[in-house]
Symmetry: D2
Subunit: 141 residues, 4 copies
Amino acid sequence: MALSETIKVRVRFSEVDSIKMVWHGNYVQYLEDAREAFGSKYGLEYMRFYENGCLVPMYDLHLKYVKSAKAGDILAVKITWEKVYGAKLIFKYDIRREIDNELILTAESVQLFTSLDGELMLLCPPFYEEWKQRWIEEARK
Amino acid sequence: MALSETIKVRVRFSEVDSIKMVWHGNYVQYLEDAREAFGSKYGLEYMRFYENGCLVPMYDLHLKYVKSAKAGDILAVKITWEKVYGAKLIFKYDIRREIDNELILTAESVQLFTSLDGELMLLCPPFYEEWKQRWIEEARK
Amino acid sequence: MALSETIKVRVRFSEVDSIKMVWHGNYVQYLEDAREAFGSKYGLEYMRFYENGCLVPMYDLHLKYVKSAKAGDILAVKITWEKVYGAKLIFKYDIRREIDNELILTAESVQLFTSLDGELMLLCPPFYEEWKQRWIEEARK
Amino acid sequence: MALSETIKVRVRFSEVDSIKMVWHGNYVQYLEDAREAFGSKYGLEYMRFYENGCLVPMYDLHLKYVKSAKAGDILAVKITWEKVYGAKLIFKYDIRREIDNELILTAESVQLFTSLDGELMLLCPPFYEEWKQRWIEEARK
């Protein structure tokens, strides 16, 4: 089982810096775009968490830059959900240049669960546990 | 009377584009930085409005680009409050390169007053009327 | 004749501010996205100008904010080329919320032509004159 | 010996998201601001590298989010240079809220050296080796 989604991002003129390469901070946005798309596809949007009384703040974000991208490049941003035991949400990512499949970046993000006023939750929120069970069973079929 | 404030902004590496000039959209942030500094100086912060039950959404923003700035340039962003009659908040701005006083940009912003749920206010909120009176009297001294 | 293009933009979570509305500066990016799409559609990309020895820096940008948009909203950004006589490039824009066609923003941008080292061009670059003629004739058919 | 620099950053209104906390991607900019300040203090600016025929692209960036910051918070961003043997540039960072010294974020960045056209350099550029020697000797005094 691999829950994943891939989005296409076109590098904007304003996202490259004076050496004509994407400014390294902008990839963080592309990863969030992929997370949002993943959420839409699998019913795990931010709003879904919010309505269930929790937030999923970023806890750890690790980016490894392999090659640079430039304005106009089409990037394929792939996000994959990682099955883990603790009360956290982990995604892995890789970004490839569409035209030649060249690897641009890999990344991993860890998010925690908190209540709406920011208190850390030591267990996954029930709706997320159910979501997880459903997908794990789906995969066994 | 001229209520005004000037801030210094250093152009960041990430704010210039591939032709090594500040990307034109980034000036909007510099203007907001100046508004925040003006608010701190004269007691007119966003929070002040908020605590008085109102928001001041942008309604009209007009930027005139005169010269370009590049990474590392120190810019002096001057904001001046405009005395007007209607229920709106108007500021004028000019941005100059500090080293040679060269004019980079002029701008004008118009903000309206709304309630916290976004309903337009046809009169200035009372605390702002008082603020205005106080400064107009101050200026007469 | 109306040369125009419309793109769809989905408001990102990171583009809204603490009152859950799109931060007003972010619309400048949406307008640039529309200009890039217009350029791709009609053969008027930045690169095209660059290869012909010129840049088209922003000279005047005027935004009128009508309504706010929030995270997740799909916006239709329409850009229309304006036929003008002088050596400048003018576009008009309107942004509507897709779901109910509500008008969110209107804008107008004026760009000038400069050489690659920033010297103002008093006449349109020849390739742009040809582009203009071609489209004007196209429209007469 | 610890070569370090600390800058103060005031969280902007536009940098917080709809839950009123700094959007996690914005910290990447604060870290770059600190690197630029470090460069100015110790003579290691991007321009210095550029004039010596090299670039220092980001290779690995690891952020650990401890607490959230909100609009108006003053953050102290501390950057420390790490002495390493290979041909890379490593910095460690911590960000603290000024008012109570609360830890907000820690991070580490690894940059590599490339020629101006992006070819990886397996040895540090000579001017950087000299820079390193000078500071190591300075520290022995």
